[in-house]
């Protein structure tokens, strides 16, 4: 859907508006107008992990200019951010901090896995200190492939996120999820990283679904 069509879409459901009033009045659904505001003011968390963080900065600079999407307001504080771009390799040592930052972000929040490492471990997957994909711990909305993704690829990912926001319903996202929103338990640095949700499996590896 082109940009123009989306704005035209504001006038649905179709009520007859007299031609002389058309420049002043639009009738639309709450979801649509709400999402329109949200999609153009996604504030990313100012947070770079590795190489992808450099491309993220380049995307914010003048040549690629993330401001065209209303996303140039990067916040170093998770309390003011909507979007967490996991830009780089997630290591086990860093994981507790990442989960804590995610927990501190207010709803509605989104996670983007930028690059091969964040999506699935990338070239470092086999490493002893590397988490093979942040989606083992956080709910990821958009994956951006590349190592590192070019700024164009990142912008494409952001546009995909905007599409996702468009399709959301205010009531579904907040009313229904209200009870379900709970913090993700923060992993612990033990002899290896310990996910508190896995206590049972760790104590008893034979109970796990996958055969060793």
């Amino acid at each position: 859907m082109s940009e123009e069509n989306k704005l035209e879409g504001l006038n649905k459901p179709e009520y007859e508006i007299t031609p002389e009033m058309r420049s002043n009045i639009a009738i639309t659904t709450l979801d649509r107008i709400y999402n329109l505001g949200r999609r153009y003011s996604v504030w990313p968390l100012m947070f770079g992990l590795a190489c992808c963080g450099i491309e993220f900065i380049c995307t914010a600079a003048s040549r690629y200019d993330i401001a065209r999407f209303g996303m140039e307001v990067m916040r170093p504080s998770p309390r003011q951010a909507d979007l967490m771009i996991i830009s780089g390799t997630v290591t086990k040592k860093m994981l507790p901090q990442i989960v804590r930052l995610f927990n501190q972000m207010p709803e509605p929040k989104y996670v983007m896995a930028m690059g091969a490492c964040a999506s699935g471990g990338g070239p470092f997957k086999e490493g002893y200190n590397v988490v093979s994909g942040i989606d083992k711990y956080l709910p990821v909305d958009v994956y951006v492939p590349g190592c590192p993704p070019t700024p164009q690829a990142l912008l494409h990912g952001l546009m995909k996120l905007q599409e996702k926001i468009d399709g959301e319903s205010y009531f579904k996202r907040f009313r229904e999820r209200k009870e379900n929103i709970e913090a993700i338990p923060i992993p612990i640095l033990g002899p290896d990283i310990i996910d508190p949700r896995d206590y049972e499996i760790i104590k008893n590896p034979s109970k796990s679904k996958v055969a060793a």
Partner: protein, 582 residues
């Protein structure tokens, strides 16, 4: 080894009979030292023979059927230039203890901690021997050859299950936890108590010492790992008295990507793309260092072709420029001039990245160097583009940046006299690159121990003498100008011809031995230490990362300064976390 080596050898053998013996193994050039006399020998080397610069400390695990020794390897240099002196100490596997060299060379501090962390070697009398890259409590010492990670498949690549039939399984499906984790048998997670932080704060307490008579409380501030001006996932624990810093401990390892462990599994050529991801701002310099180290081992067969040598220099110097403009832009970011100076810097960097993309296929991760040359020649028109940039645009733009920033009052007040590092300290702490030269030590490997074809070019080693943040900022501008000079000459002289000597093989034959290849990277001395046993994979692969070792002097520079200056000092060191943590 230099021409002076016989002299050193005779002195060492008369002064330290029975302590120092030349390393007889094939392909090795150093000396084996008995561990009892190491500190005494190092002191003599430093004070009497001029080996005042400890470049690298690392350890090698020689685990095989005949041998079980661990070996600590030291690379010493003279700060006046020349080749290396390699010392190694052999230690038994069950009790690897050696005296720490921190008292002689303070720059050994972090490197010994790394050897302790990854290889399990204990350094006696080390002031603060904790794990550095992994966390305290982690099980095992990962770089030992008998330590296997959770996703361990086979010792070497390519894995037989991937080839030739291409049966690929996901490592997750083989691991009982479905994740890249492994726990000791019978481990009970509910009873685990973390000791990481308490040990860090205990170390800080030691540094603070006794309080005076005044009724006051010290404040511990943790900056990072998520902080907008730590240039990535870097953390500093700072003890403050009011606003003045009285102790500071860098905490690194948040981006430890197991570069060395993975590197020892890869074939030699396999590793080239991984070196890109060390210092990801200047990937081509990393390629250069790694290619040099392997070519050194390969001997005559590895010598690059003439055109390739020029292309390497052109690419390395362009990388230096792009790195330095980035560093300047982000130093200004750290000073509070948020993003506007960085935009000017990134503009120039993007133009250089265009050249990289056209030539190598990638903006950042170039993977361009090969053993004996480079992967491909410049495409049509790119050389002209470089000429336009080097002869027309860059000198003008650098003058612009100079004019905007150098005399800026805020820059002057925030950086002059802040974070001073004296030349003696800079050498003692093994600082390299712009940080060393801003302290008044004219040590540039391109001149002091030339590699490639740098001896053909006419350029000056940029030096500044105050050792403060301002000099570390201004020296980067100086270095860009010198790089432009080198580029001008290289672009005029570049010959036609093949870009690689011989064919471009997937597999190179590397004879057994050790080698240490080092280049003057944009951040400092980037060294690759490689031990080969004649197989297609390096037996030991170690990276001497300049950002990591430059951080050793961080505490020294910060003590007595205000908390707001820490950010500036860190920005002026110019670290990249991919390289710091590897």
């Amino acid at each position: 080894m230099t021409e002076a080596a016989p002299v050193v050898q005779s002195v060492l053998e008369t002064r330290f009979p029975g302590v120092v013996t030349p390393d007889e193994r094939k392909g090795y050039e150093g000396y084996i030292v008995t561990k009892e006399k190491l500190v005494e020998l190092a002191t003599a080397l430093r004070d009497e023979m001029g080996y005042d610069f400890l470049s690298s400390v690392t350890a090698v695990d020689y685990l095989s059927e005949e041998e079980t020794n661990l070996e600590v390897v030291y690379h010493l240099y003279k700060s006046t230039g020349g080749g290396s002196l390699v010392l190694s100490v052999q230690l038994p596997r069950d009790n690897p203890v050696v005296d720490s060299l921190v008292s002689v060379y303070p720059g050994a501090d972090f490197q010994e901690r790394e050897a302790y962390d990854l290889m399990g070697i204990r350094f006696d009398k080390h002031p603060d021997l904790r794990r550095i890259l992994m966390w305290e409590g982690f099980e095992g010492h990962p770089l030992r050859k008998d330590w296997k990670e959770a996703y361990h498949n086979e010792d070497t690549k390519p894995f037989s299950n991937r080839w030739p039939d291409g049966q690929i399984f996901r490592s997750e499906d083989k691991n009982p936890y479905g994740k890249n984790n492994i726990y000791p048998v019978g481990f009970d997670p509910t009873k685990w108590e973390a000791t990481e932080e308490s040990l860090l704060y205990a170390g800080l307490g030691k540094a603070v010492g006794e309080k005076g008579n005044i009724e006051t409380d010290y404040l511990v501030v943790n900056m990072g790992p998520q902080h907008p001006s730590t240039h990535g996932v870097f953390r500093m624990a700072v003890v403050l008295d009011g606003e003045t810093i009285i102790a500071l401990k860098p905490v690194v390892g948040y981006l430890h990507r197991n570069h060395e462990k993975i590197g020892e599994r890869n074939t030699y050529l396999h590793n080239m793309p991984f070196t890109d991801r060390l210092d990801y701002i200047s990937s081509l310099s990393n390629n250069f260092g790694y290619a040099l180290a392997v070519e050194k081992l390969m001997g005559k067969k590895g010598a690059p072709s003439e055109r390739a040598e020029y292309i390497r220099v052109i690419m390395a110097e362009l990388t230096r420029i792009s790195n330095h403009v980035w560093a300047i832009g982000f130093l200004l970011n750290d000073l509070g001039a948020f993003f506007t100076p960085a935009l000017y810097a990134i503009e120039e960097r993007e133009l250089i990245l265009d050249i990289f993309e056209a030539t190598t296929g990638s903006r950042m991760m170039c993977n361009y160097f090969r053993f004996g040359g480079v992967a491909r020649d410049f495409p049509e028109g790119v050389l002209q583009k470089i000429r336009d940039l080097v002869f027309e645009r860059l000198p003008r733009k650098i003058d612009d940046i100079d004019a905007y920033l150098t005399d800026n009052e805020i820059v002057l007040t925030r950086t002059q006299g802040v974070g001073i590092l004296t030349p003696e300290d800079a050498i003692a702490y093994s600082a390299t690159g712009p940080m060393l030269r801003a302290s008044g030590v004219p040590y540039d490997i391109r001149r002091a121990d030339p590699y490639g074809i740098y001896d053909r070019f006419d350029f000056d080693v940029a030096v500044r003498y105050h050792g403060d943040c301002y000099d570390r900022f201004i020296i980067r501008l100086d270095e860009i100008r010198q790089s432009i000079r080198i580029l001008e000459q290289a672009l005029d002289q570049i010959p036609e011809g093949s870009v690689i000597s011989g064919s471009n093989p997937y597999q190179v034959r590397v004879p057994a031995g050790e080698s240490y290849g080092r280049v003057e990277g944009p951040k400092g001395e980037l060294g690759f230490y490689i031990v080969s046993n004649g197989k297609p994979h390096p037996w030991r692969y170690h990276v001497r990362a300049p950002s990591f070792i430059n951080l050793t002097a961080m505490e020294k520079m910060c003590i007595g300064q205000k908390i707001a200056d820490v950010v500036v000092i860190l920005g002026s060191i110019d670290i990249v976390l991919g390289e710091t943590d590897r």
